[in-house]
């Protein structure tokens, strides 16, 4: 019996009892619609949940320079001067798992505005990318400083909400001038409120300026170098790079032959740390691998030499993120499975009724030459067809429901191709699995008995 004939027979049989077919399909329609709607709504919510968690820094990675030591005295993590702004640029350029990266220079100066003074928890020198990394791009007022400001070491800054309250008394500070350790800065923007971080520190107590400005105009040197006597590289001794100011070439440039003959590590303006964000939670591990190999190459570390930097991730929050997403997915899967099983049992039920009701028809078909496998195939095809039709209708209904939810309840909804493919496959499988028993029962009928069945 060809597939075409089987399909034709199945369609004719289903059409013969259109009400029953429709009712049978209803179970699957509702099941699949529930699955699709749940998947879309769930995926939307879990997406927005992970976004929220990610904004707390779950995707963030921090690079600290390694430990410097002199004469057996270690100066602690972050004390060597190996990390540069160029490293950060290279990471942005070459690491695909990194969404954004920004160098960071720390300081802790006193701020003065008119008759008030304040020492913020965080005074960071960075690039505009810092806000991207921290998922903080929305400004309450004004704008972030530009990359040109970073190159020019412009005396501009943006301030957090706590500063606005403490230093400016709630007055809009954009355009005002404040003094940071006796250097005059113009406030160009105000950050939105971010609240406390996981350790209770006020994240709004922040002044953000170009890192070049903080490094060369405010600290004079990095916090690390001020505690490290052994390292002789100061900003003034930096050479060969004109991207940033304060790096006057004091030696004649090497020819390429000289460079090849005497490879000499060149120290650039170092930064205190680099903060990065991975493209997603799953990309954290690959990002660490990529950055490690890139930095080892840039720092010319031989195989076997230890890293002169360390990378830290927010494992705790990342785990929270992963478990939240997992739980959400599993929950939805459970709901989906239950509704599909219910739909499948419905199909089985109706198919069994149908087999009993059509016993005579089965007997007749056998008498005119249907083999038991033809009967099996016919009933399986009917069940599968019902489920597929139900699946398609359910798909439409589910998507419709999800769109309605999005439109009227304003819940985030995310359509998923996997869910659509899965629901079609699953409905076919449900048809085959739950259609098999009735079909098998039909195919086992004895034609003589079946023909005589009343």
């Amino acid at each position: 019996m060809t597939i075409k004939k089987t399909l034709g027979t199945a369609i004719r049989a289903l059409r013969r009892n259109i009400t029953r077919s429709a009712l049978t399909v209803l179970g699957i329609v509702i099941g699949i619609a529930a699955v699709i709607a749940m998947m879309e709504i769930g995926k939307g919510s879990s997406g927005s949940i992970s976004k929220t968690i990610a904004s707390m820094g779950a995707n963030n990675l921090l690079i600290f320079p390694g430990t410097a030591s002199t004469g057996g005295v270690s100066f602690g993590g972050g004390s060597s001067l190996t990390l540069t702004a160029e490293d950060c640029d290279a990471i942005i350029r070459e690491c695909s798992a990194i969404a954004a990266a920004a160098p960071l220079v720390r300081a802790r100066p006193q701020l003065v505005y008119q008759d008030k003074n304040w020492v913020p928890t965080f005074v960071y020198g960075s690039t505009p990318a810092y806000l991207t990394v921290r998922d903080w791009s929305q400004m309450a007022d004004g704008d972030i400083f530009t990359d040109a400001d970073v190159r020019n070491a412009s005396r501009v800054c943006v301030v957090g909400q706590t500063l606005v309250r403490e230093l400016f008394g709630g007055v809009n500070p954009v355009g005002k001038e404040i003094r940071v350790k006796n250097v005059a800065f113009t406030v160009v923007g105000v950050l939105t409120a971010k609240g406390a971080n996981a350790f209770g520190m006020d994240q709004d107590d922040i002044l953000l300026a170009p890192w070049t400005t903080i490094k060369y105009r405010v600290s004079g040197s990095s916090t690390a170098s001020s505690t490290t006597a052994s390292t002789s590289t100061t900003s003034s001794a930096n050479s060969a790079d004109s991207t940033y100011p304060g790096a006057t070439a004091i030696f004649p440039a090497q020819s390429s032959t000289q460079a090849a003959d005497a490879p000499m590590p060149v120290r650039f303006a170092n930064v205190d740390q680099v903060i990065m964000s991975a493209t997603s939670g799953e990309q954290i591990k690959p990002a660490i691998r990529e950055v490690t190999s890139l930095l080892r190459e840039r720092h010319r570390l031989q195989t076997g030499e230890p890293d002169d930097f360390s990378i830290r991730d927010m494992t705790e929050s990342a785990n929270a993120l992963a478990s939240t997403t997992n739980m959400m997915t599993n929950l939805l899967l459970a709901v989906a499975l239950i509704s599909l099983v219910v739909g499948g049992v419905g199909i089985m039920n109706i198919m069994l009724v149908s087999v009993t009701e059509r016993t005579r028809e089965i007997g007749l078909r056998m008498a005119v030459g249907a083999r038991s496998r033809d009967i099996l195939r016919q009933f399986l095809t009917e069940a599968t067809l019902l489920c597929l039709i139900g699946g398609l209708l359910g798909l439409a209904l589910g998507r419709g429901a999800a769109l309605m939810v999005q439109k009227f309840l304003r819940w985030p909804v995310e359509s998923s191709v996997e869910a659509i493919i899965a629901s079609i496959v699953v409905s076919a499988v449900v048809g085959i699995v739950f259609g098999f028993y009735p079909a098998w029962k039909a195919s086992r009928l004895d034609p003589i008995e079946a023909l005589r069945y009343e």
Partner: protein, 255 residues
């Protein structure tokens, strides 16, 4: 026309009901030549339906040999027997056994779904249409069973039985559910099929009017052949209501 179509050799059929064995057929030996018109008669419980099921390849004998059209079918697998039923046998039932809510044309074409003939949809439709015209239902091809009278339903069933051009047509009480006028119509049709198309007809009946149309009458009793009579002479003239009860012609006892 004298070659053998059906040959039974010591066919026995035993049913097991719990511990008890019921011997329904107890050694049937029989030959039916191509083109015959045979009536199987006997009181109820005589085994005629069981014999019919065996002849129709719906059932397998417990022992014995059964050649149909030169092929031994008693030991065939159920799939092979299904093929035989599809190609070589047409069935007509007492209760018509038409599919509900299905047009006459689709009913007739239904067995073709199980045939590997490579017959195109158009040819299949043509053949079914011709058959329906032949049984006099050319105008009712789109009618469903509920829109047809009993006699018309049985004629649809006959057309369906003939769709694969089988050499033999089995009819199990084909007129049992019909009134005498439609009975006459159906029997006339059988006569014509047998005479002009050369189709072997084997029918089970306990109605002597019906049995009278057959040229050979096999009477069963307690699972054995009680009598086997062949009526010589011309086929009976078409009965006009019940006067065929006593068919003319000389009868000769065989076996």
């Amino acid at each position: 026309m004298s070659d053998t179509l059906v040959k039974l050799n010591d066919i026995r059929r035993t049913f097991r009901v719990g511990e008890i064995s019921v011997h329904v057929l107890r050694g049937i030996t029989l030959e039916i030549e191509r083109g015959a018109y045979v009536a199987l008669t006997g009181s109820s419980g005589s085994g005629k339906t069981t014999l019919m099921n065996l002849l129709g390849c719906l059932d397998r004998p417990t022992s014995g040999e059964f050649w149909l059209d030169g092929v031994e079918v008693s030991r065939m697998s159920s799939d092979a027997r299904a093929m035989i039923r599809n190609k070589k046998i047409g069935f007509v039932f007492q209760n018509f056994n038409l599919l509900p809510r299905t047009t006459a044309l689709e009913q007739v074409m239904m067995p073709l779904a199980y045939t590997n003939s490579g017959l195109s949809e158009r040819d299949a439709k043509k053949r079914a249409t011709d058959l329906l015209k032949m049984v006099g239902l050319g105008e009712r091809m789109d009618h469903r069973p509920s829109q047809l009278s009993g006699g018309q339903q049985q004629r649809v069933a006959i057309a369906r039985a003939l769709i694969n051009q089988p050499p033999v047509l089995f009819a199990d009480e084909p007129t049992g559910n019909l009134d005498s006028r439609t009975t006459a119509e159906i029997l006339e049709m059988f006569d014509r099929l047998n005479r002009t198309e050369g189709i072997t007809i084997i029918l089970v009946t306990h109605d002597p009017t019906v049995a009278g149309h057959a040229r050979r009458n096999i009477r069963l009793r307690d699972g054995m052949i009680e009598s086997d009579t062949i009526r010589e002479g011309p086929p009976p003239t078409l009965p006009s209501h019940g006067d065929a009860t006593h068919p003319s012609g000389t009868e000769r006892q065989v076996a």
